[in-house]
Symmetry: C2
Subunit: 417 residues, 2 copies
């Protein structure tokens, strides 16, 4: 399997000796095993001016977790605890993304291993670990109220939504993406574990099939309604579009966010039983696309540019006024675009209805959610034909700061300096 | 990606015309596209004297579902409805495992498509769909009480268990395994959908990393406790062991089960937070194995034969009397063996404790659960050191009849003849 090309095995064997010194040693261990400066095809560099996991080509699997801080002392002590947590988390994330275990002692029989071990022997599988800070972090606890960016304003009510607080919000968030679900799960589990004196996991979500490609793949994936999703997404490698729509620039009121991005997560439940009873023609009108080819209703191939002005023999628009694709299109939204990086999910059944609890865990990155996600969703909220079949049941907004540039640097370093 | 070598695309394009005739046409469509009699590397033959998904090398992902029948008429009518359901299900399963959509019309604009479409364009990914019948099916509704095999006796209480009825039992069960989670999910969703006048899904479970290999893979996977699981499993290709332990033979009291097998499923929740705080030495004593190499504590390599008599300098057994591996070993259980085919799962958090709801979805196949799973689990229940860290929270027992031998045959045909 492609997932296993670069084994963690050899690295782990050194664990007791080489890793006893923590993060610095782990980095050295990595260097010893890599003869070329180009990263192998199954690992994504962790350090850099941007966090990985945003422009990075969408991996196949997601493990997302939101955490709440449990510290309850003075502002000074709370802040020190947060800084210590992020230092430990950054070092652990750096190690895990490169296929190393959590730094620390793993082979001492008289202690719990630093790493939980279930990913031992697996390749890094292009693991990225992306970190964000929620609005609630900027309350009284850490003395950060005046460092809160205006763009990190709580999301307003945006129908169709009935949000479950147990699946929403959080002080901190981790998006772990990989081509192996065990590797992604291992990341959020171990971050929870090594932070257990400071944080608790508030909610988590696994995504089992990517539902939005950011342009680097050849095939656009399908969502659980059977439609291609993400055809018109921002390609992560298009630096002009990324600078224009995704990366925070000098327009920000908070310099610590420059080079970062804002993550909006929405757990969108699909009423798939009802959807599956709908006629093919109606399904296609809801999206504005042909189901199988993915082409706009005015075209024949997936990447054909939609013709929003075209009318049918009946005089009505071929792509209906309420079609999801029309309402979400940047042409019809003053050029507004977002980078989507969502995943399909299914979590058993909804107890109240007996229907499948399945849908889209929507993730979008943007430079200002007020002007992008919120503006787009307001428009969809009013007119989108898709609303009959979906409901937002979870929500999160997180400020993802720029990347730690190199070993020794830490997530959100400038904010907490 | 390996998952996409054989696209469903070309086949689907024929859907409207070729598939209008249903299952028979779908089979023809398949023939048209295959020039060789050997199945391609990404699809497993559906028809045969044994059901696929038992001896088949373990795929990477699982979607398991239990269904209850909703029919409520006379025995004769109920039975006719069950027969009709299984005929439709068999044809749909045959099609899906070969990369075809659910048989029926998929391109008529004025009707709901027969297939929900999310797997369109994906390869079959070695999908197997394995079918089982629960003890509850043999009540008054279908006139099958006298056809119930003695081996399909309800499982007794087997600690450590606190079973949730909403995650247990069911009239029918489907085990869908594939190397692509979307393909596996698509199977259980579509079977529920096409059976919606006759069945409702009772519970379902996704497995996201195989937790037991049946011998055809090079690497033994790890469970979420970080230990290798399945090292001593029955290899599916060992026909002697399969005949001895897994396939029902002439010893059965019900001829319709000859060539079949019994599936036991247990949703085993792991207390992983507590486990992660345990010393490495203690973890290793619980399993009786070295964590990283997977070797028995009396050996140095994973496949070394354990020496259950070896004693340490302290005079105590090197593999403790309460070690999971000792208690489960066939040497210590009068030669009893089972074929395990379980998967790891994680489903968010347990509301009452805030701990991760994660563990092992244990699946085992055997010729008589009374003499195999139940006998083994009774022994484990009393002495296994692992019990401190696990709890069985869901359970199912299903009789999996022999395979439909060829197109035109149906699951459980002999039972319902």
């Amino acid at each position: 399997m492609a997932e296993r090309h670069h084994s963690r095995r050899g690295l782990f064997a050194l664990g007791g000796a080489a890793l006893a010194g923590g993060a610095a040693s782990a980095t050295l261990t990595g260097c010893r095993h890599e003869s070329s400066s180009a990263p192998p095809a199954d690992r994504v560099p962790f350090y850099g001016t941007r966090q990985a996991g945003i422009a990075t080509p969408t991996q196949n699997r997601l493990a997302f977790a939101a955490y709440d801080l449990t510290v309850d002392a003075s502002v000074k002590e709370n802040r020190a605890a947060l800084k210590a947590l992020l230092k430990t988390w950054t070092a652990a994330a750096a190690a895990m993304t490169q296929g190393h275990p959590v730094p620390g002692v793993n082979t001492n029989l008289g202690a719990p291993p630093a790493d939980t071990g279930e990913a031992h022997g697996l390749a890094p599988a292009n693991l990225t670990i992306t970190f964000g800070l929620g609005p609630s972090l900027f309350d009284h606890r850490f003395g950060l109220a005046d460092r809160r960016p205006a763009a990190l304003e709580d999301l307003p009510h945006l129908p169709p939504a009935e949000l479950d607080p147990d699946r929403s919000d959080g002080d901190l968030a981790i998006q772990a993406c990989a081509d192996d679900p065990l590797v992604a799960f291992h990341a959020i589990r171990n971050l929870a574990r090594i932070g257990r004196d400071t944080v608790v996991m508030r909610w988590s979500q696994l995504g089992f099939g990517k539902a939005a490609s950011n342009g680097a793949d050849q095939e656009t994936p399908r969502n659980l309604m059977g439609f291609k999703d993400g055809t018109r997404n921002i390609p992560g490698h298009d630096t002009d579009l990324m600078d224009e729509h995704v990366w925070v620039g000098k327009e920000t009121d908070q310099a610590w966010m420059r080079g970062g991005s804002y993550l909006v997560a929405r757990r969108i439940q699909m009423r798939i039983e009802g959807w599956d009873r709908d006629y093919l023609a109606d399904q296609q009108k809801v999206f504005g696309r042909h189901k199988y080819s993915g082409a706009p209703l005015t075209g024949s191939k997936e990447f054909d540019t939609p013709d929003f002005k075209a009318k049918g023999p009946d005089g009505l628009p071929v792509i209906p006024a309420t079609a999801h694709m029309r309402l979400a299109a940047h042409e019809n939204n003053s050029g507004i675009r977002i980078l989507r990086r969502g995943y399909s999910f299914t979590d058993g059944m909804i107890p109240s209805s007996g229907e499948l609890d399945a849908g889209l865990f929507f993730i979008a990155f943007q430079k200002d959610p007020r002007k992008q996600f919120v503006a787009l969703q307001r428009r969809l909220a009013t007119h989108d034909a898709l609303n009959e079949y979906i409901q937002h049941v979870g929500s999160g907004l997180f400020a993802c700061p720029p990347g730690p540039e190199a070993a020794g640097h830490t997530w959100a370093e400038e904010l907490l300096a």
